[in-house]
C-alpha cells in the first residue's frame, strides 16, 4: 500500500516546463468544468419543483401513466443511482431518448447541430475579418485626436450596432431585405441566399464591438514604449503595425472575442427562431415548451461544451500570443 502511494508522486520533469504546466492546469480546469456542466444538466430535471413527469404530462394524465413514464425514465431509482446511470450513459454515448419523437437524443442533435455550427462559424469569421482591419485602420487614422468627425461617426455607429440585440437586428433585416427589398429568403435553410440574413444578424453586433475594442487597444499599444523602440529601429510602418502593434493589441481582443463567440453560440438560439432555421436553437425552444427533458438536457450539454471549448481555445491563443500569460497564472 505504501509503495503504491509513494508511486503517485508527480513525475519530476513535470514542474520544469512552463508549457507542460500550463497544459496540465488548463486540462484539469476543462475536466472540472465539464463535470460541473454534466452534473448541472443532470440536476436540472431534479431541480424542477414538483414531479417533472407530472409537469410534462399535465394534470390530466392518469397516475399509472405517470408511474410508467417515471419508471421508463429511471426516475423511480435513488438519486445517486440515477446519477451513476446518467454518467455511464454519457460515457457510452447514450444521451437518452427524446420523449416527443422517440428518437435517440444523440441522433436529433447530430441532425441539427451542423446547421447551428455553420451559422455561428460563418458569423464569427465575418465578424473577425471585418473588425480587425476596420479597428486597426481606425486607430491609425484617428490617432492623437486626428479626424475627430470620422472618429465620432465610427464610435457612435459601432456603439449603436453593438447594442442592438441580434434577434431585433434579425427582425429589422427581415423587414428591410426580405419584406421591403425582397432580395433574399427570410426563412429556412436552403441555398446560399438563406444564409445571408441570419449570418449578418449574428455578425454585425460582435463585429462592431470588436472593431471598437481593437481601435482602443491599438491606440493604447501605439503609445507604448516598445512601439517607440520599433520606430527608433526605423522599421517600415507595415512591420511596426503588424509585427509589433497587432499582437499586443490582440490579447484583450481575443479575450473579448471569446466572450462574443460564446455569446454568439447563445445568440443562435434567438436568430434561428426568427428565421425558422433548422438548428439546435429552434429544437431547444420547442423541447423546452414541450417539456421534452432528455432532449433539453442533451442540447444544454452541447451548448455548454461549445462554450467550454471556446474558452479553451481563447486561453491557448493567449498563451501562444503572450508568453507572459502562461507564467502569470502559476
Amino acid at each position: 500500500m505504501t509503495t503504491l502511494l509513494t508511486g503517485v508522486r508527480p513525475p519530476r520533469g513535470f514542474t520544469g516546463n512552463a508549457w507542460t504546466r500550463f497544459a496540465a492546469r488548463r486540462l484539469a480546469r476543462l475536466l472540472i468544468s465539464v463535470w460541473v456542466l454534466v452534473t448541472a444538466a443532470f440536476l436540472m430535471i431534479h431541480l424542477i419543483p414538483g414531479d417533472p413527469v407530472r409537469v410534462a404530462l399535465g394534470p390530466t394524465a392518469s397516475p399509472e401513466l405517470v408511474e410508467a413514464r417515471r419508471a421508463a425514465l429511471g426516475l423511480d431509482q435513488p438519486l445517486w443511482l440515477q446519477y451513476v446511470h446518467y454518467l455511464g450513459g454519457l460515457f457510452s454515448g447514450d444521451t437518452g431518448t427524446s420523449v416527443g419523437t422517440g428518437l435517440p437524443v444523440s441522433e436529433v442533435i447530430a441532425d441539427r447541430l451542423p446547421a447551428t455550427l455553420e451559422l455561428a462559424g460563418y458569423a464569427f469569421l465575418i465578424a473577425v475579418v471585418v473588425s480587425v482591419p476596420v479597428g486597426v485602420g481606425m486607430a491609425v487614422l484617428t490617432r492623437r485626436g486626428r479626424r475627430r468627425k470620422t472618429e465620432l461617426a465610427f464610435t457612435s455607429t459601432s456603439v449603436v450596432l453593438g447594442a442592438v440585440p441580434e434577434f431585433l437586428l434579425a427582425v429589422g433585416l427581415v423587414y428591410v431585405f426580405g419584406v421591403q427589398l425582397g432580395w433574399v429568403p427570410v426563412a429556412g435553410r436552403s441555398g446560399l441566399g438563406s444564409y445571408v440574413l441570419p449570418v449578418l444578424a449574428l455578425a454585425v453586433g460582435p463585429a462592431a464591438v470588436l472593431a471598437r475594442l481593437l481601435r482602443v487597444e491599438t491606440l493604447s499599444v501605439l503609445e507604448a514604449d516598445y512601439i517607440r523602440t520599433a520606430r527608433a529601429k526605423r522599421l517600415p510602418d507595415r512591420i511596426v503595425y503588424f509585427r509589433h502593434a497587432l499582437p499586443n493589441a490582440l490579447t484583450a481582443t481575443i479575450t473579448v472575442g471569446g466572450l462574443l463567440l460564446s455569446a454568439m453560440v447563445a445568440g443562435t438560439v434567438l436568430v434561428e427562431n426568427v428565421f425558422a432555421w433548422p438548428g439546435l436553437g429552434t429544437t431547444i425552444v420547442e423541447s423546452i415548451i414541450a417539456k421534452d427533458y432528455p432532449l433539453v438536457q442533451g442540447i444544454v450539454l452541447v451548448y455548454g461544451t461549445a462554450v467550454l471549448l471556446v474558452n479553451l481555445a481563447v486561453d491557448v491563443a493567449l498563451a501562444l500570443l503572450d508568453p507572459r500569460s502562461t507564467i502569470k497564472e502559476s
Binding site: 447594442a163 517607440r228 527608433a232 529601429k233 427562431n273 425552444v285
Partner: protein, 633 residues
Amino acid sequence: MTSPAKSTWAGVLRTPVGAGAAGLLAAVLLLAVLAPLLWSDQASAVDTGRILEGPSGEHWMGTDGLGRDIFFRVLVATGLSVGLALLATAVGVGAGLLLGTAPMLLGRRAGRLVTAVVNIAVAFPGLLLALFFAVVFGVGATGAVLAIGFALAPAFARLAQTLVAKVAGLDYVAAARIAGLGRLRLLVRHVLPNIAEPLVVNATIAAGAALLTFSGLSFLGLGVQAPLYDWGRLLGDGLSSLYVHPAAALAPGTAVVVAGLAFNLFGEAIAKGIGMRTTPVLLRPRVRSAPAARPAVTGEQEPVLAVDDLRVAFPGSTPVRGVSFALRRGEAVGIVGESGSGKTLTALALAQLIEEPGEVSADRLDFLGRPLLDLPARERRHLLGTSFAMVFQDPMTSFNPTQRIGRQLAEVSEQHDGLTRGQALDRAVDRLQAVRVPAAARRAKQFPHEFSGGMRQRAMIGMGMMGAPALIVADEPTTALDVTVQRQVLRLLDSVRTADDVALLLISHDITVVRQFCERVLVMYAGRIVEDLPAADLPARARHPYTRALLAAVPDMSTDRERPLAVIPGRPVDPADVPRGCAFAARCPLADEQCTSADPPLVPDEDGRRVACWHADAVTGLPLVAEEVRVGE
C-alpha cells in the same frame, strides 16, 4: 458641500451624453409606471372589425390580429417589460451579492468552493444560463424573472468578490475586524457602503441587458405568457404578420432597443464619470519667442551632429525653443534639467521620433554631415537605422513583450543590412555578448520578461550596436534601474563610446551622473540651453543660477540624511505659458528688472563656454545656495 461622489454624478448629468441618457431613462421609467394605469383599456379593446389594419388616424400604428391598437399596446407593455427586467436585476444583484460575499461570510474553505463554482458559471453566456433556469423554473413570467436573475448572479458575484477583496484590504476595515466586529456587521456597515457605487452602476447596465434578454425569452415563447404581454411577446406575435403589417413587430422592437439603450448609456456615462476624471485640455495661445543664440562651434573636425535653432512645437505650446549645439566623434555630452525642461523632447527630435501633432523645425539638423530634415525618407531611414542608436528610459516597457529578445535585435540588421534571418540572429547573439549578457545564445531565445532590468537595458544598448552607430542617444538610461545596476549600465555605455569612437548624448536629471560620464554638460531650462560648459568646470565655475541651483540640490555624503532633500524653490515653467524675459526669473535669487523684461541670449566666452544670464559674471563668487552644500566624490 457635496461629496466627491455626488459631484461626479452631477458632473455626468452635465455632459450631453449623460444628460440625454438620464432624460431617456427617466422617460422610460415614467412611462413604465403611468402607461398601464392610463391606457390599459385602450390597449386591450378588441375590435374584430379592424383586424391587422395599417396606420390610420385612429390607430397610429395600426391594429393587431384581434384589432387591438398596437401603439397603446406597446406603451402599456413598457410597464411589464421594464418592471420584470428590474425585478430580474434585483434577483441577480441579490443572489450575486450573497455568492460574492460568501468567501467573507463563510470563511476560507466554503468560500473557495463558491468562488470556484462562480468562476465556472461566469464563463457561460447569460442567455444560456437563462435557458437552463427557464427549464428549472418553468415557462412563464416568474420562471423568466428567476432565470434571468440567476443568470446575472455569477457576473455580480464575481464583481462583488473583486470589490470586497479590494475594500477588505483597507486599513479601517482591518481595524474594525481587529476590534472584533462580527463578519456580517463588518460587511453591512463597512464593506457594502464602499462598494455600493460600482454595484449600482453595474446594476444599471445589467438592467439594460436583462431587458433585452427578457424580451428574447418572451419572444421565444418562454417568458411572459398570454393574455399578459411585454415587448418581446408583442414582437413574437408581430413577426408572423411582418409582411402584412410591419409596425406590429417593428414598434415593440424599437421600444426594446430604446429602453435597453437608456439603461446602458446611463450606466456607461456614470461609469466613465467615476472611472476617468479627465479635465478637458485647454488650448492656450501660441507662444512667440525671441530667436535663440547661434552655436559657438569651431569647425576643426566635422561634427557627428550639428544642431542649430532646433524647435519642437505642439498645438498650443513650444516645449523646445531653439536649441543649438554640436557633438564630435567619441565625445560624451550630457543634457541636464528638471523634468519638463525639454531635454527628452530634444532627444526625440534629434532622433526624428516626434509624432504628429508635434512639429520639429531647425535651421540646421545635420547628422554625419547630412541634413536630416531634407533627406528623402528612404535614405534617412537607412542612415538613422544603421548609425543612430537610442536607449530609452524604461527597459521594462521598451521591449515588445510578445517577441523574443534575439528577434527584436535581429530585425534591425534584417531591415537595414539585408542579412538573412539566421545571419541577423547570429549577429544579435554576438552583440548581446558584446554588451556582456551572459549565455547570450540562450538568452536571445528568451522573452523580455525573463530578463532583469539591467540586463534588458544592456540588450537595448546591444540593439543600438546592431549597425555601426556613430551616435548613441541615451534618455535617462538608468533612472528605472537599481542603484547597483546603474553604474554597470553607465560604464557599459562609456566603454562602447571609447571602444568604437561613438558620440554619446546622455540625458539625465542627475547632474552628478552627467558630470562623471561626460566631457561637456548642457543645462536646459524651459526648452532652451541656459549653460554649456566642460564637466570639469563643475561645480565651482558654473555661472548660471539654475545650474548652481541644480548642483545645490544634489545630496552628498555630508548632507544630513534625515533632512529632506534640498530642492530648487518654485515650479518649472509651463511650456504653454512661458513668461517674458528670462524664463528662470521667477525662481532666481538674482532676478531684477532687466531679467523680467528681456530674455538673456546664450553667449559664448573665449573658451567656448556658453551661458544665458544677464548676471552670469556676478554669480561665480556666490555660494551655491543660501547655505553651503559641498558637492564632492
